[in-house]
Symmetry: C3
Subunit: 367 residues, 3 copies
Amino acid sequence: MEKTQALAACVFCFGMSYSISDLAKILGLPHQGDGNQLLTRVSSWEDADNSSLIFLEISGKRITLPERVPAACIMAPPAVVRSGWNAILSDTPKLHFARAGQLLQPRPLGQGFRHATSVVSAQAVIGGNVDIGPHVTVAAGTFIGDGCILHTGAVVGKNCILGEQCILYPGVVLYDRVELGNRVTLHAGAVVGGDGFGYVSDGKKQEKFPQVGRVVIEEDVEIGCNTTIDRGSPRIGAGAKIDNLVQIAHNVQIGRGVIIAAQTGISGSTVIEDWAVIGGQVGFGDHARVESGVIIGSKAGILPGKIVRKGEVYWGVPVRPLREFKRLNALFGRLPEMKDEIDALKEALKRLEDAFRDLQHRISESP
Amino acid sequence: MEKTQALAACVFCFGMSYSISDLAKILGLPHQGDGNQLLTRVSSWEDADNSSLIFLEISGKRITLPERVPAACIMAPPAVVRSGWNAILSDTPKLHFARAGQLLQPRPLGQGFRHATSVVSAQAVIGGNVDIGPHVTVAAGTFIGDGCILHTGAVVGKNCILGEQCILYPGVVLYDRVELGNRVTLHAGAVVGGDGFGYVSDGKKQEKFPQVGRVVIEEDVEIGCNTTIDRGSPRIGAGAKIDNLVQIAHNVQIGRGVIIAAQTGISGSTVIEDWAVIGGQVGFGDHARVESGVIIGSKAGILPGKIVRKGEVYWGVPVRPLREFKRLNALFGRLPEMKDEIDALKEALKRLEDAFRDLQHRISESP
Amino acid sequence: MEKTQALAACVFCFGMSYSISDLAKILGLPHQGDGNQLLTRVSSWEDADNSSLIFLEISGKRITLPERVPAACIMAPPAVVRSGWNAILSDTPKLHFARAGQLLQPRPLGQGFRHATSVVSAQAVIGGNVDIGPHVTVAAGTFIGDGCILHTGAVVGKNCILGEQCILYPGVVLYDRVELGNRVTLHAGAVVGGDGFGYVSDGKKQEKFPQVGRVVIEEDVEIGCNTTIDRGSPRIGAGAKIDNLVQIAHNVQIGRGVIIAAQTGISGSTVIEDWAVIGGQVGFGDHARVESGVIIGSKAGILPGKIVRKGEVYWGVPVRPLREFKRLNALFGRLPEMKDEIDALKEALKRLEDAFRDLQHRISESP
C-alpha cells in the first residue's frame, strides 16, 4: 500500500516556491515591495492567502482597488499598482500570471512508481521515471516515453507510442495504434481511437465500413474529460487544446494551436487549420474546411463541404460572417414590425386605390 | 470471491415490502380494497405483476379504465378509481408514486464490504459501513462518510471529502479536492474536478491558465452518466439534478434544486440561481446569469454576460421570452407569404402608378 | 503476465489473407489481373502497400487515374478499370470494399482467456470462449454468451444477459438487468442502464421518480464511445448503429437499422421507427415519434409529442421538411433586401399619395 500512497502523493504535490524578486526575474518583469516575500501558489482573489499570487487586469469597468492587496503579491499593470503593494508589474498580467502558475505549480513529472495492481505487458517498453498507477493496463507492442504519468485505470492498447511526459488521467482509454507526442495531456474518461462511424447500406442492413489507420496527437495537446476521438487517421496538431465532451470523427485534421470548446462535434474528413478558435456546441458536417485563424461562435453549424474563409468571425446555423449574422438576427427580431409595415402598406395602398378610382369616376362623369 | 458476490448482492437488492394499508398510512393517504395485500415494488403498467404498485394520472385525454387493475394496487385520484380496485387515493398520484418508490426500493446504503482488489490509501479515512467495490481507488488525505457506496472502478483523488451515504457508480472519477455533501449520487463515468479550459495566447502558443480551487457539490445532488464538472471553484447547490453528458465549466455556480437536462453546456463563471429548470442541449456563454425559477427550453443559447430575468419561460438562440419566440417563429414560417405580399404590393403600386400617370396625362391633355 | 499478453494479442490480430481470385469468388464478383496475389488488409490510398486492397468510387468529379494502382488490388467499377490493373470489378465498390474488410479483418472472437485480475462472480454463468480482460468485473446472476470479449475494465452488473460474440471495449459499464443480443458492440466508456432523469417537485424539493425495467439492446447493434443509454425499458432495435456521445433517455424505442450520429439526444418515451437516419447534435423532446425511413439533418430540434411523418427529409429547429427549410433559410438571408423593399414601397407610396393629393387639389380648383 505504501507505493500507492507515494504515487498518489507524487502526482499533485509538486508545488514550488519563489521569492517575488526571483519570480519577477524569471518572468523578465519589474517588481515593487518586499522582494523577499515567498510565493507558493497562484490563486483567485477569494482563495488568496499570505503566500499566494493574484492578478488584476484593467477592464472597461472601473473597480475600486483596495488599500492592501489580500495576498502575498499581485500581478498588475503599472498604472493601477498602488505604492504600498507587493506587486509584479506587467502590461499583460493574465499571460504572466499563467506563466507564474506554471512555475509555482509545474506540470507533474513521473517518478518511476509502478503500482502492484497495474498490468503491463512484458512486450511493452516503459521509459524511465514513468508512473503507472493502480489498475492501469499497458498492452503489448506499446512504448511509453520518459516521465509519463498513467493515472488509475488508464488503458493503453497495443502498438501505441507515447512521447515523453504525457499525462493520462484516470480512466483514459487509448485503443490500439495511437501515437502521442511529448507532453500530451488526456483528461479523465477521454477515449482515443474508437472505430469511425461509417456504414454502407445494402438495402437490407448496414454493413460496417472498415476504419483503419492510426491516430496521431502531436506534442503539447490537451484533451478534455470524456472527449472522444475516432480512428481513421485523424491528426491533432501540436499545441491544440480540446475541451470536455468533444467528438472528433475519423480522418479529421486539426491544425496547430487550435482551440475547441466543449461539446463541439466534428464530422469525418473535416479540416480545421492552424490557430482557429471554435466555440462550444458547434457542429461540423463532413469534408468541411475552416481556414487558419478563423473564429467560430458557439452553437454554429457548418454544412458538409463548406469552406469557411479566413479573416472573419462566424456565427449561426449555417454559419455566416458575424456582421451579417448580427444584422439578420436583428431583422429577425423585427419581423413583427415588418409584418405590421406590410399590413399598413396594404391598407394605405387600398385606400389610395379607392380614392383613385373615385377620382377617375368623378373625372369621367364630369362634363 | 465471496465478498464480491456479497457486495454485488448488497447494492441493488434492498427491496422492502409494505401492505397497502401500511403504505397508505405512511404516505398519509386513504386507500380502498384489500389493505393486507403486500406490495414489493413500483412498476409501469406493462411490467406490473401481482405485487406491484402502478399509478394513473388524469390527463386531458380520455382513457378507458379496465375493470380490473393489472397490478396489486393502483395510485390514482379518487374520481377515477372504480369500486372493485385495490387503490391508494391521491390527487397528486405521480408525486405519491415517487414517494412509494422510495419506500419500496429505498436508496441503497453501504454495509461495510471492501473488495480485495480495491486500493485504499492508509492515509484515507473511511467511515462506517462504507462499501468499496472491486478495483476502486481512494487516495491519501480523503475522507469517506458513513454508508457510502463506491462501485467498481470508482476513482477518488487526494484530499476529497465525501459526506454520508454518497453513491459513486462504476468508473466515476473525482480529481483531487472534491467535496460531496450527504447523499450525493454520481452516475457511471461522471468526472468531477478536471482542469478548467482556460488558455492565454502569447501570439505563438497557448499558455495554460491555472485552474485552482476546490469543487463543492452539496447534499442530495444527483449527477448523470459521463457528465463532466471542471475544477475552479464551482458549486452545485443542494438538491440540484443534472442529467447525462452535461458540461459544467470552471467557477460555475448552480443553485439549489436546479434541474439541468442532458447535453447542456455551461461556460465558465456562469450562475444558475435556485430552482431554475434548464432543458437539454442548451448552451450558456460565460459570465451569464439565470435568475431563480427561470425555465429555459431545450437547445436555447444564452450569450456571454446575459442576465436572464425571472418570471418567464425562455426559448431560442439567443434566448427570448417564449411568447416572443413563438411569435417570431410563426412569422419565420410565414416568410414566403411576406415575400409574396411584398411582391404583390410592388406590382399593385406599379399598376396604380401607371394608371395615375395615364390619368395625369389625360387631364393635362384635356381641353 | 503471459495471459495478459496473449489476451492483448488475441483481440486485434485476426487478420486473414485471401488471394484476389478467392476474395472475388466469395464476393460474387469478376476480377482481372493476377488472381493469385495475396491480400491481407483493406486500406486507404495513402496507407496502401503491396498486400492491401483499396477502392475507387466514380463520383461527379473527374479524377486522373494512375497508370499503376498503388496497392495489391483495387475494387472499382468496370468502366474505370485500366487493363494493367489487379482489380475486382464492382458497380457498388464501397459496399463490396466494406464486405472485403469484414473478410480480411473479421470481427474478433473470444478465445477463452481470463485475466487473473478480473473479478467474476461465482454466480455468473460464462459461456465458452469468452475473453475476460484485466480488471473486468462481472456480477452475480449474469450470463455471458459464447465468444464474447470483455476488454479491460469493463463492468457488467447483476442479472445481465449478453448474447454471443458481444464486444465490450475498455471501461464500458452495464448497470443491472441489461440485455444484449448477439454480436452487440459497445465502445469504450459507453454506459447502459443508468437511472432515467425523472423528478417530481413537491414545491419544496425534487423527488426522484422511480426508474424501473430492463434495457434491451438487440443483435448487431453498435454503440459509440461514451454514449449513455438510461434505464426504464428502452429498446434498441437489431442492427441499429449509434455514434459517440449520444444520449438516449428512459423508455426510448429505437427501431431496426436506425442510424444516429454523434451527440444527438433523445428524450424520454420518444420512438424512432425502423431505418430512420438521424444526424449529429439533433435534439428530441419527449414522446415524439419519427416514422420509419425518415432522415433528419444535423442540429435539428424536434418538439415534444411531434410526429415526424415518413417520406421526407427534415431540417431545422423546430424541424420542417427540407424543401421548406431551404426556402425559409434563403428568405432569412434575404431579410435585409425585404426590409429595403418595404422601405422603398413606403417611400414610393408616399410619393404617389402626395402626387395624388396634388392632382385632386388641382382638379378641385380647376374651373
